[in-house]
């Protein structure tokens, strides 16, 4: 992946609504109306999110009469996996540090309770 595309991917994934859209599309293609259903935002806002995802090549659209159902592109699947891996890595770092913090707290508690 080129640097510019990687930037577009991560900025596209930085928004939880867009991640939720990708998670929904992972289950199968859907129209704008179907995608807007679970969210408390307008179809126009959903269309804007879809444009960002399309520009990042994470999703693609198909022509079906008057409908334009969206589906997850291969890059979208990979990007979701990468995002989850990144989230996991950040959390692992945090919790490894938390292990050290609680070891100190455990020690303090032991010393305070005779």
């Amino acid at each position: 992946m080129k640097a510019a595309q990687l930037d577009a991917t991560f900025s596209a994934l930085g928004d939880p609504t867009r991640r939720a859209i990708l998670a929904r599309l992972a289950k199968g293609e859907a129209t704008v109306m179907e995608l807007a259903g679970p969210f408390d935002i307008t179809q126009a806002a959903i269309s804007q999110h879809l444009k960002v995802l399309e520009d990042a090549a994470l999703i693609s659209r198909r022509v079906d009469g008057a409908k334009r159902p969206r589906r997850l592109a291969k890059a979208g699947i990979e990007a979701m996996d990468q995002w989850l891996a990144m989230l996991r890595k950040g959390l692992e770092k945090n919790y490894d540090r938390l292990d050290k913090v609680i070891a100190t707290l455990n020690q303090q508690q032991k010393e305070e309770t005779p």
């Binding site: 998670a23 050290k100 913090v101």
Partner: protein, 154 residues
């Protein structure tokens, strides 16, 4: 030591689980006391949290600011909805990158498991109904005169 599990559930849920060698009390403190939060909630190597406002009571505000010391930085704001010492914390948060991301609703549980504690963190993007319920409960809690004080509990 312990490994985390991370799975997506439904359309907009992420559930993270991990075990710790500590009591629920200790874990609860590490999640709610600013001086402790600043020691571990730092993400990738090289980042620091110079500002940590964490008013751990229903309706209380959260503000974390991170910096990489090279001009890079972002912050998070949030509010506490429910706190049940030492087993459950419910709060909402959003990142400012600099535009605010939609609210992320997070329920964190600490369940004793022998000498260990299992932490379960469920992150949800709220829909309209959940958000209305959240607001209602936040207001109700905010009006309570008494609130949980963490200081001096140990």
């Amino acid at each position: 030591m312990s490994k985390i599990t991370l799975e997506t559930v439904g359309d907009s849920n992420i559930v993270v689980k991990r075990r710790f060698n500590a009591s629920p009390e200790i874990l609860y403190r590490a999640h709610t006391e600013p001086k402790l939060i600043q020691q571990w909630m730092l993400g990738p190597e090289g980042w620091k949290m110079p500002v940590c406002i964490n008013d751990a009571r229903p309706g209380g505000k959260i503000r974390f600011e991170w910096t990489n010391g090279k001009g890079g930085g972002f912050h998070l704001t949030g509010e506490y909805l429910e706190l049940e010492p030492f087993t459950r914390i419910v709060h909402v948060e959003r990142m400012h990158l600099p535009d605010a991301t939609p609210d992320n609703h997070i329920e964190t549980r600490f369940d004793r498991d022998g000498t260990q504690t299992l932490m379960t963190m469920a992150m949800t993007l709220p829909d309209a109904k959940t958000r209305a319920a959240m607001l209602a409960s936040g207001m109700e809690r905010g009006m309570e005169a008494s609130y949980v004080r963490l200081e001096g509990m140990f």
